[in-house]
């Protein structure tokens, strides 16, 4: 290390103090130079380093940039730093003033006061210094459960101490139950606390100059990482672990990892908005905002991803339509999948699908026991004879999002999906098409019969639709659900949207109040859709969710949708557990069983696990039942207790959104007991062993790339 040695260059401190006094008397544009000490350089990261010898070395980074415009602000901070340093000096200590060459090339710096937005510019180049370097994902998939280890590596590339905040997505059902902060070689496990308390403790620790990390949940699929007091040049690593079950949709299991939060539109009445701003837009510390890189910016934030897949049965096909991957088949049941190094920009969801041999997909159960009890996940496959029946006529209601975020390729994908669905309809069906952005309008006043003439009319209508304006989804929901449906028809509502709104709870309440007997099949269109909204619509509407990426043709999703609505679903399902003592099964309201879409239930049991079940339901008004033998149970590595708790929390969150008293109290108690992050709990990790020097630095929001396919002008800085 360049700073080792036993010299005592205290004169350097006084030289620096002199400069700071001078600079504080001058304007922010005064240039400062410490050429005399510039040759005493330290590598990035040198800030305070106890010597292994008797002498201690205090190594102070002085941001010395001849063109730095903000010496005024810096000077005040430095004087306090130095006073503190002087107080802590003892005769056997020495002080070095060093410059770090890492920062010499920074041309200028903009900054607001502590707790607000700050950024460093590169001075016109494409590379933008951001305090995140790497996101690494390692997942183990066993059957339909996954254990995911997520590593985030942050660092401070700036010349002063910083705090950072980063809004990032996780799967909507992820049960985040481990949080470890690594500072140097030391690993500190985070503690789950009530969210308000954790936020208060975070502020106290931050103000005390301690390194502290806080993980909160803003939405079931949006989390916020805050880290305070990262010294210049230092790195902090955060490790998360979460568990989830994998959905089976459109003929295959699906593992998805979201990489970026899409820009949300917040209509008036949004309680907890998440803003979307471009880099450089000032935001307050308490504002929730996703900050996007500007066009041409590159932050250097990379993503690595690898999966170990053990399907338990023969894998027929493995494929990602969203990313380039390397697939290594280890056996007919096992494979290793890694993200290609050339595809490491985190700007769209990673989606991997694997198909198992069709005749091997059977209703099955996995179990796990721990000190809290015994848990299971049951995947219930629809009975085969469900495909032999045809259903009553339907009224198809296509609700297409034509807001600004859908402009371009997303809206074309949505239109193609509707066209395909209309072509598959029969003359006995009827249909409506509703578009919404700032307001809602529709093709005609009433539902049209699915005749060839009306379908041609619909095609022309679709051709004229373009994206633009805000996302007032409530208008679309009312237009879809309010009008009475013709007697004898089943109303099927298909939302085609990226879901980039911030008022999900408002939407859920409206759907719950108005859905009546309609079924909702939501289509997420785009590269980084809001799966919380898409899944929530389908859940409340007792339908199913599907996703159309910008890379695929969407045909499979639409065909699967039509396959589902062509046959009657098994509804109002109840399960007889065959004498097993089964309790607390979630979701409480068992979803309808459609063709090609298994349902996953998670619950607890006492004594032995269920060996067989009796499924009862109604199809087209008639009672049906089926006996299913579950065969041998399978033990899994994934923590089913956490998955169960997350499922229960999801139910409680819906109940809370719909106004059930006591839901929040139950949710808080559950999340604390199981140690998982939720709407009401947070992870906190404090390093109380070492205080960083100086005043708290500015808070830097981590800027992220816009989701692929979005056009910046249409979606950013739309703050209400």
């Amino acid at each position: 290390m360049a700073c080792s040695g036993r010299t005592r260059p205290l004169y350097l401190l006084f030289a620096a103090l002199g400069l700071w006094v001078l600079s504080s008397c001058d304007s922010a544009s005064r240039s400062g130079s410490l050429d005399g000490v510039a040759d005493k350089r330290a590598p990035a990261g040198a800030y305070y380093r106890p010597s292994s010898k008797a002498h201690k070395q205090l190594i102070v980074r002085s941001a010395i940039e001849s063109s730095a415009p903000n010496l005024e602000a810096r000077s005040g901070m430095r004087r306090n730093d130095d006073a503190e340093l002087m107080q802590r000096l003892s005769p056997n200590e020495e002080i070095w003033i060093v410059e770090d060459s890492l920062f010499a090339k920074r041309r200028h710096e903009t900054r607001r006061e502590h707790g607000c937005y700050a950024q460093l510019d590169d001075g016109g180049g494409q590379s933008v210094a951001m305090p995140i370097k790497l996101t690494s994902v390692r997942a183990e998939i066993a059957g339909f459960t996954a254990t995911v280890d997520l590593k985030q590596v942050y660092h401070n590339p700036y010349s002063q101490k910083i705090n950072l905040q980063y809004l990032f997505p996780l799967p909507v059902d992820a049960a985040v139950s481990e949080f470890v902060m690594t500072v140097g070689e030391r690993r500190i496990r985070g503690i789950v606390r009530e969210k308000k308390e954790a936020e208060q403790l975070y502020r106290e620790a931050r103000d005390a100059g301690l390194i502290v990390a806080l993980l909160t949940q803003d939405r079931p699929n949006i989390f916020e990482q805050k880290i305070a007091n990262i010294d210049p040049g230092h790195a902090i690593q955060i490790d998360l672990r979460y568990f989830q079950t994998l959905p089976y949709r459109d003929g295959g299991f699906e593992f998805s990892f979201p990489m970026v939060v899409g820009p949300r539109f917040n209509p008036s009445g949004s309680n907890d908005p998440i803003h979307a701003v471009s880099r450089g837009t000032p935001i307050g510390e308490d504002d929730k905002a996703v900050v996007y890189l500007n066009k041409g910016d590159y932050s250097g934030h990379r993503i690595e991803l690898s999966l170990e897949l053990n399907a338990g049965v023969t894998i027929e096909d493995i494929k990602s339509e969203t990313h380039r991957t390397q697939i290594e088949r280890r056996s007919d049941r096992q494979a290793r999948i890694t993200l290609a190094a050339s595809d490491d920009v985190p700007n769209r969801d990673f989606v991997l699908r694997y198909q198992v041999a069709g005749n091997q997909l059977k209703t099955g159960i996995v179990t796990q026991s721990d000190s809290r009890g015994s848990y299971f996940s049951l995947m219930m496959v629809p009975p085969r004879d469900i495909q032999e029946k045809s259903r009553r006529p339907v009224e198809l209601v296509f609700v297409i999002d034509t807001s600004g975020s859908m402009r371009g390729l997303p809206i074309e994908k949505a239109k193609a999906a509707i066209r395909r669905a209309l072509r598959a309809s029969t003359p006995s069906d009827s249909f409506r098409i509703i578009r919404f952005s700032e307001s809602a309008s529709s093709l005609g006043e009433e539902a049209l019969a699915a005749t060839s003439g009306n379908i041609r009319r619909a095609m022309t209508y679709l051709d004229r639709l373009e994206g633009g304006g805000g996302t007032h989804m409530l208008a679309g929901i009312r237009a879809a659900l309010d009008p009475p449906v013709e007697r004898g028809r089943q109303r099927i509502v298909s939302f085609m949207t990226d879901g980039f709104i911030g008022n999900e709870d408002q939407i859920f309440r409206a759907v719950y109040a108005n859905v009546k007997d309609a079924r909702i099949f939501s289509f997420g269109i785009g590269s980084s859709v809001n799966r919380h909204l898409i899944e929530g619509l389908a859940r409340l509407g007792r339908g199913a969710a599907a996703y159309v990426s910008l890379d695929g043709d969407g045909g499979r999703a639409v065909d699967a949708f039509y396959d589902r609505i062509r046959h009657p679903a098994l509804e109002n399902i109840q399960i007889n557990w065959g004498g097993a003592d089964v309790v607390d099964v979630y979701p409480r309201r068992i979803p309808d069983l459609f063709v090609g879409r298994p349902v996953v239930l998670t619950g607890r049991f006492r004594g032995g696990p269920p060996r067989s079940i009796q499924v009862e339901g109604r199809r087209e008004g008639r009672r049906c039942e089926q006996h299913i033998s579950l065969g041998g149970r399978t033990q899994v590595n994934a923590d089913l207790s956490k998955i169960w708790a997350r499922r229960k929390l999801a139910d409680l969150d819906y109940e809370s959104a719909l106004g059930r008293a006591g839901a929040d109290r139950d949710a808080l108690s559950l999340a604390l007991e199981y140690g998982i992050v939720s709407r009401l709990t947070a992870f906190l990790a404090v390093d109380a062993s070492r205080r960083t020097f100086g005043h708290p630095g500015p808070t830097i929001p981590v800027a992220v790339p816009l989701p692929e396919g979005l056009q910046p002008g249409s979606v950013l800085n739309r703050r209400r």
């Binding site: 030391r186 789950v192 606390r193 403790l201 000190s371 140690g675």
Partner: protein, 157 residues
């Protein structure tokens, strides 16, 4: 191979006692927890186990602050490589103002003698420093046998 088997048995034995122990007497501290200390400070406390000549394969302890003013805000790993990963805690016990920690060594090289097995990071009230009551719930060797050990907590910062 045999050692691995024994070690696994040791872990099973170790965690088998956890459910019972996590509902142990909370010493009446639950209701007394203060949410807002008058003068908050953050301190770290080293948790030491002295196993004399025995190798430490796994351990579980309970820490209760009788002053009931401290808040656990982080658990750091120990000094020996075998316990470098931070110990796990029982979130349910924490709701009752008890800190129940457990860890096991993932490999065969085990610490002997006195070793810091964890560091607790706490937010405390400077005017009412914590008074710890410690309880060693379990200390076992690689084979799952109980070993004698002394437990100590010491303020580090």
């Amino acid at each position: 191979m045999m050692a691995r088997l024994h070690f696994t048995l040791a872990l099973i034995a170790f965690f088998a006692v956890a459910p019972e122990l996590t509902v142990a007497d909370s010493m009446g501290t639950t209701a007394a927890v203060s949410r807002a200390a008058a003068r908050p400070e953050f301190r770290s406390y080293g948790l030491y186990l002295d196993t004399h000549d025995a190798g430490l394969g796994a351990w579980q302890v309970e820490v209760v602050d009788l002053a009931a003013k401290s808040r656990l805000v982080g658990i750091e790993g120990g000094e020996h490589r075998a316990f470098a990963q931070p110990a796990f805690y029982d979130p349910k016990a924490l709701q009752g103002a008890r800190i129940v920690l457990a860890a096991f060594a993932p490999d065969d090289e085990l610490p002997r003698g006195k070793t810091r097995v964890a560091t607790l990071h706490l937010r405390v009230d400077a005017d009412a420093p914590p008074e710890f009551k410690l309880r060693l719930i379990a200390a076992v060797d690689a084979l799952g046998n109980d070993i004698d050990a002394e437990l100590e907590i010491r303020q580090e910062s």
